[in-house]
Each structure stands twice: as structure tokens, then as C-alpha cells.
């Protein structure tokens, strides 16, 4: 009788383990906000995007927001990061807390002298891989003009396999107006870099269509 019970239990466990889906259905979003001199005034728009993300992400998803400054490959630049709880009520509380931190950041943001986008992306990939999310999104809210501190090495390939990189609100610089080819060259260079790293690239300048950010 005991043997029969043990066998039945083992069979049920085996059956249930076969049913469990091992692929992760959660989403991980890492948003980089450029806070360099000219772009600082755009931060209000970034706040709207974060609010949209907070309203869209589901329990179990992860969200992190970090600033791009002179040396962005650092946890210190992360403004807020959170993996939402599985229970909706707790998730709602976490989202409120997240919003509060972002509001505080927007109110006290200071411009940086340099723009280390590559460092921020590398930090984003590291964070997203740690969360184990099924879908990984890196949102870059910047004009994509990288300015590095002398001595910082960033000209190496970035491993972005499985990541979807979305460039948001890529504003045109004064120099772009003189020669628009510079703008396209800049965007294309980033696209090539992301795609050569195994990631997918998309640029989204129309912030009225926020639903396209996390779309497949």
C-alpha cells in the first residue's frame, strides 16, 4: 500500500513538473535617462514615460531607472529599481514608492558634464540578466551623443543578446541642423552597435505612441 502511495505521489509530481512552464513570462525594463547639460530639460518627458511603464508592467516584472552621467557603469546611478511582487496589492504599493522616488529625482536632477551611454547600457544588461526576465528592454532616453571622460574606455562590443533596445526622444542637436547627416549617422552607429551585439534596435520619437515601447 505504501509503495502504491509513493508511486502515485511520484507520478503526480512528475506530471505536475511536466506541466510547469520553465520559460519566464516576466518583463524586465531598464530605462536610462540622459541628464547631460542640454538634455536635462527633457527629463519631465522621461517622467511621463516612467509613469506609463508603471501603469503597464505586471506583477513579477522588473523596472529600473538610472541616469546617464559621466561614468554610468555604476549602481550609484540607479535612481530606483524594483522587481514587483506577485500579489497585485503589493505591486501597487511598490509602484507608488517607485513613483515617489522618480518625482524626487526629477525635482532635484543636476546636469552632468559628460554622457557615458555605453557604460549605462552595460550596467542595464547586467541588471536585466540578473532579474532573469523573459523579455528584456533597455530604454535610452537620450540624444545619443556620447561624450566620455578622457581615459574611459568604451569602444568595445556590448553583449546584448535577447535585449530590445529602444531609443526614445532622440532630439536633434544644433549641429544636426547644420548637417542632418550627422544625426542619421549617430543613430545608425548605435543601431549597428546594438545589432552587432545581438540585440534588436528601435527608435521612437513620437511620445504620443507609448504603447509601442514594449510592443514586440
Amino acid at each position: 500500500m505504501k509503495k502504491l502511495l509513493t508511486f502515485s505521489l511520484a507520478f503526480i509530481l512528475l506530471f505536475l513538473s511536466g506541466c510547469v512552464d520553465t520559460t519566464s513570462h516576466s518583463q524586465g525594463v531598464y530605462m536610462l535617462i540622459d541628464s547631460s547639460g542640454t538634455y536635462q530639460q527633457e527629463v519631465k518627458k522621461a517622467q511621463a514615460i516612467i509613469n506609463y511603464l508603471l501603469g503597464t508592467l505586471q506583477p513579477g516584472d522588473s523596472l529600473a531607472v538610472a541616469r546617464i552621467d559621466s561614468a554610468s557603469f555604476s549602481e550609484k546611478d540607479i535612481i530606483s529599481k524594483m522587481t514587483f511582487d506577485n500579489r497585485p496589492s503589493v505591486t501597487n504599493r511598490q509602484k507608488r514608492l517607485f513613483k515617489q522616488k522618480i518625482d524626487e529625482f526629477v525635482a532635484t536632477v543636476k546636469g552632468s558634464s559628460y554622457t557615458d551611454i555605453t557604460g549605462g547600457i552595460v550596467q542595464a544588461v547586467e541588471y536585466l540578466n540578473e532579474t532573469g526576465s523573459g523579455k528584456k528592454h533597455v530604454l535610452i532616453f537620450s540624444d545619443l551623443k556620447e561624450e566620455l571622460v578622457k581615459g574611459h574606455i568604451r569602444d568595445f562590443p556590448i553583449q546584448l543578446s535577447g535585449c530590445r533596445v529602444v531609443a526614445l526622444n532622440v532630439t536633434k542637436l544644433r549641429s544636426d541642423n547644420v548637417d542632418p547627416r550627422e544625426y542619421y549617422k549617430r543613430v545608425e552607429a548605435w543601431q549597428a552597435r546594438v545589432e552587432s551585439g545581438g540585440g534588436s534596435w528601435r527608435a521612437l520619437n513620437d511620445l504620443e505612441r507609448l504603447d509601442a515601447i514594449l510592443a514586440d
Binding site: 512552464d21 501603469g55 513579477g60 500579489r87 513613483k99
Partner: protein
């Protein structure tokens, strides 16, 4: 030597070479005409026969299906009619028991009323006492002439007075007696009314029983029709079954709508219990958990209806002894009650979570935070809905049973129609194969028409007869098949 050189029979004259080649080909085809015709007819006949045999097999299968359907339908109809008749007899029995049990009392009431009426009637028939006979003699004496004698006149006057007084007394007594008689008759009236009412009651009961017997008669007629396995009975049962199928299908659709509403009511709060981020396959665990709860409620509803012997989908439950069945009724009802309570609580939780989410969305959209609604009506409404829906879903067992039973008939009818269509298609293909054979034979003859023209001139009838025989055989086969 190339093919072009071979065709160049007459050097430097390709047209002549072509004509010679064509004539040669026609001649060769003419020589091969009989075997070619035979070959074409053979192929067409083989194909035609193959399709014909297949069609016959399908027709045979269709007949089997139709017979099986008929048997299933009649058996089910017979069982239903038996149950219906049994139920009617039970009703008649109950009515007779009820009415007959009250009949002795009724009879006693009737007898009492009749006794009262009889007594009153007898009393009312007693006539008043007529005036005595001597009064007439005295009256005669009193009217005699006195002839001037004063004493005689006085005596006669006295006699007259006495007679008049006696008459008055008698009349008074008579009037009194009449009045008493009338009062007795008047007292009879309520008894008459009561008697009429009692008789009306009896009449109603008798009419009710009579109507019941009429229903039993009609059920018995149906039963006899089914027992005789008449076409009318089969058609009637089929029509009834198809109607049942559509009605049960409609009710099931309504129930599915209810289940969807129920699902939406509990799916969100279930994520609070089992987690909103876990998945089983491609589906959220919370959704599956909500679905499982609804399915468990359905299953409990089925068991409850089975235990109550309202449905008969699981014979094992119906065959249980009454004690076990009663336990099962209570167990399933208790589980349903608990699940209803759980759903009600989940509905309450859903309302709270939805309100919290709404508040968060408003905060995120930076819109003016509207005053949260404090009305308890939606909350209570959702809770009541969550409590009622499990019990409402329990009754799905009834249309489900009708749907299952009637779908047997409908599937059978559809299967028979499908087989009939296949048989028709196979016959059509067989006939097409046959006429294609004839068509190719005629095309062949068109190609060699010069040779046939010459043959006609010479008058060679032998080959024509052979071909005609082959065509006739094919025609007979086709006609035979058509007659089948």
C-alpha cells in the same frame, strides 16, 4: 536520323510528307481501333465499377447508421414514454388517494345534510287541523229561521256566535301552522346550498381525474406507437430530439456566458492568492485557478443533480442506496456553499484591488484625483453575484443532459446525411468515369474519321456491331446501378 528527317518522307515537299505521315497515322490508329476502344471501355468500366462498389458500401453503412439511429431514438423514446406514463399514474394514484381518503367524510356530510333536509321536509308536510265537522251542523242550525220566537232567536244567535268564534280559532290555528311550515322550508335553504357545494366539489374532483385519464390515454397512444416502431413515432421523436438539442444548446450558451462573467469576477483576485506572475504553459496560473474553481463548481452541480435524481448522467450515483445518496447530496451542497462563499469573498477582494488600481492609474496619469466612490452597492452587487453564480451554474447539469442525449440523435442524422452525400459523390464520379470512356472513344473516332468514312463506303459492319455491344453492356450496368 533525327525525327524531323524521319518525317521528311517526300524530299523537298514537307506538306506532302506531312499528309503522308498523317494518313499513315490514321491508318495505324484505324487498325488499332478495336483494341483501343476495348481498352478505353475497360478502364472506364473498372473505374465506374470501383466507384459503384464504394458507393454501395457507403449506402450500406448509411442504412446501418439510420437503423441504429432509429433504434436509439425509439429506445430512448420508449423509456421516456414509460417514465411519463408511470409519472401520470402516480399522479392519478395521488389524486385518487387524496380524494378517496376524504370521501367517507364527504359522504357523512352529505348524509347529515340529507337527513336534515328530510326531517325539515317531513315536518313541513304536516297539514293544519281542519275545522271540526260539527261546526257545519251548528252553522246550519244557526241559519234556521226563528219565525218570530224570541227564545229560539236567542239560541240561534248564540249558536251563530259560537260558530263564528270557532271558525276564527280554526283559521288562526291554520295560519299558525302554515307560518311554521314556511319557516321550516326556509331553514332548509342553507342545507340545500351546502349540499350543492359539496356536490360541486365532488364534480370538480371527478373532472380532474377524468382529465388525468385523458392525458394517460394520450401517453399510452404514444407509447403504443413507439412500441409498434412506426415511422410516425420515429419522426415525432426525431423532431422532438432536434428541438431539444437547440433549446439545450441555447441554455448552455447562456450558462457559458454566466461562466465567463464568473471567471472575470474571480480571475483578478486569484492572482492575489496564487501570484500574478506565475504561468502554467502559456496561461497565467491565476486564470487557470479561476477556471478550475468554476469547473469544480460545475462538477459539484452535476453530482448534486445526479444525487437528487434530476439528471441521469452517472448511473453509479443514481444506483446508490438512499442513505449514501443523501450523504452525497449534503456533501456536494456543502462544497458548493463553501465555493460560493469563497467566490463572494474573491468578488469583494476584486472590488478592492480594482479600486486600488484605478487610484494608482489616476496618480500616474497626473490627473486630478477624483473623489473615490464610497457607494457600497457595486461591492455588494459583486459579492451577491459571486455567491449566486455557483448555484446557478449547478443547474447546467439539466440542459447538459438534454444536450448530450439529443446530440446522439443529431450526430446520427448528420452522419447519415454525410454518408449519403459521399455515396452520391461516388456514384457521380463513377458515372463521370463511364461517360469519359465514351467521350474518349468518340474523340478517337474523330481522329480517324477518314478511315471510318472509307469503312462506311465499303460497308464493314462487323467492328461497328462489336463496339455497339460493348456500349450496350455498359449502358445495362449503368441502368442497373441507377435502379438500385
Amino acid at each position: 536520323m533525327s525525327f524531323a528527317q524521319m518525317l521528311n518522307i517526300w524530299p523537298h515537299s514537307p506538306a506532302l510528307s506531312l499528309i503522308i505521315a498523317l494518313l499513315g497515322a490514321v491508318f495505324l490508329l484505324y487498325l488499332a481501333r478495336t483494341p483501343m476502344h476495348k481498352a478505353i471501355f475497360s478502364i472506364s468500366r473498372v473505374t465506374h465499377n470501383g466507384f459503384r462498389i464504394m458507393a454501395r458500401s457507403v449506402v450500406f453503412a448509411e442504412k446501418k447508421v439510420v437503423e441504429r439511429n432509429r433504434e436509439v431514438l425509439l429506445t430512448a423514446g420508449k423509456r421516456a414514454a414509460e417514465q411519463s406514463i408511470e409519472r401520470e399514474f402516480h399522479r392519478v394514484d395521488a389524486a385518487v388517494r387524496r380524494d378517496m381518503s376524504g370521501y367517507p367524510g364527504l359522504q357523512r356530510v352529505l348524509a347529515d345534510q340529507i337527513a336534515h333536509i328530510d326531517e325539515d321536509y317531513r315536518e313541513s308536510t304536516q297539514l293544519p287541523v281542519p275545522p271540526p265537522d260539527w261546526v257545519k251542523a251548528v252553522e246550519t242550525l244557526a241559519k234556521l229561521p226563528s219565525k218570530g220566537d224570541k227564545w229560539v232567536a236567542n239560541i240561534l244567535g248564540e249558536i251563530h256566535k259560537t260558530a263564528v268564534a270557532q271558525y276564527k280559532n280554526a283559521m288562526e290555528e291554520y295560519h299558525n301552522a302554515c307560518s311554521k311550515r314556511h319557516s321550516l322550508l326556509d331553514k332548509m335553504m342553507p342545507y340545500w346550498r351546502k349540499l350543492t357545494q359539496t356536490l360541486d366539489q365532488v364534480d370538480k374532483r371527478i373532472i380532474g381525474l377524468h382529465e388525468r385519464t385523458k392525458v394517460v390515454d394520450s401517453r399510452m397512444t404514444e407509447y403504443e406507437e413507439i412500441q409498434k416502431k412506426t415511422d410516425t413515432a420515429a419522426d415525432m421523436l426525431r423532431a422532438s430530439s432536434i428541438t431539444q438539442f437547440f433549446i439545450a444548446g441555447f441554455v448552455l450558451l447562456v450558462a457559458i456566458g454566466g461562466a465567463v462573467i464568473n471567471f472575470n469576477l474571480i480571475a483578478l483576485p486569484m492572482s492575489e492568492m496564487v501570484g500574478g506572475g506565475s504561468y502554467i504553459g502559456q496561461f497565467k496560473t491565476s486564470n487557470i485557478a479561476a477556471l478550475v474553481i468554476i469547473l469544480v463548481e460545475l462538477a459539484m452541480g452535476l453530482y448534486l443533480m445526479e444525487s437528487l435524481r434530476i439528471t441521469h448522467l452517472f448511473p453509479i450515483i443514481g444506483q446508490m442506496d438512499d442513505k449514501m445518496r443523501t450523504r452525497m447530496i449534503w456533501a456536494t451542497f456543502a462544497i458548493l456553499l463553501i465555493l460560493a462563499g469563497v467566490e463572494s469573498a474573491l468578488a469583494f477582494m476584486r472590488d478592492r484591488i480594482a479600486a486600488d488600481m484605478q487610484a494608482l492609474r489616476q496618480a500616474l496619469s497626473s490627473a486630478e484625483t477624483a473623489q473615490p466612490t464610497t457607494s457600497w452597492i457595486p461591492t455588494v452587487g459583486q459579492m451577491v453575484l459571486g455567491f449566486i453564480l455557483p448555484f446557478a451554474l449547478a443547474f447546467v447539469a439539466i440542459p447538459l443532459e438534454s444536450f448530450v442525449h439529443s446530440s446522439r440523435t443529431l450526430v446520427g442524422v448528420a452522419m447519415a446525411a454525410f454518408l449519403r452525400a459521399i455515396a452520391f459523390a461516388l456514384r457521380l464520379l463513377g458515372n463521370i468515369a463511364y461517360y469519359l470512356g465514351e467521350f474518349f472513344v468518340n474523340i478517337y473516332d474523330v481522329l480517324i474519321f477518314p478511315a471510318l468514312w472509307v469503312e462506311n463506303l465499303i460497308g464493314n459492319k462487323e467492328h461497328q456491331t462489336e463496339i455497339k455491344n460493348m456500349t450496350d453492356i455498359n449502358d445495362i450496368v449503368v441502368k442497373e446501378e441507377g435502379s438500385q
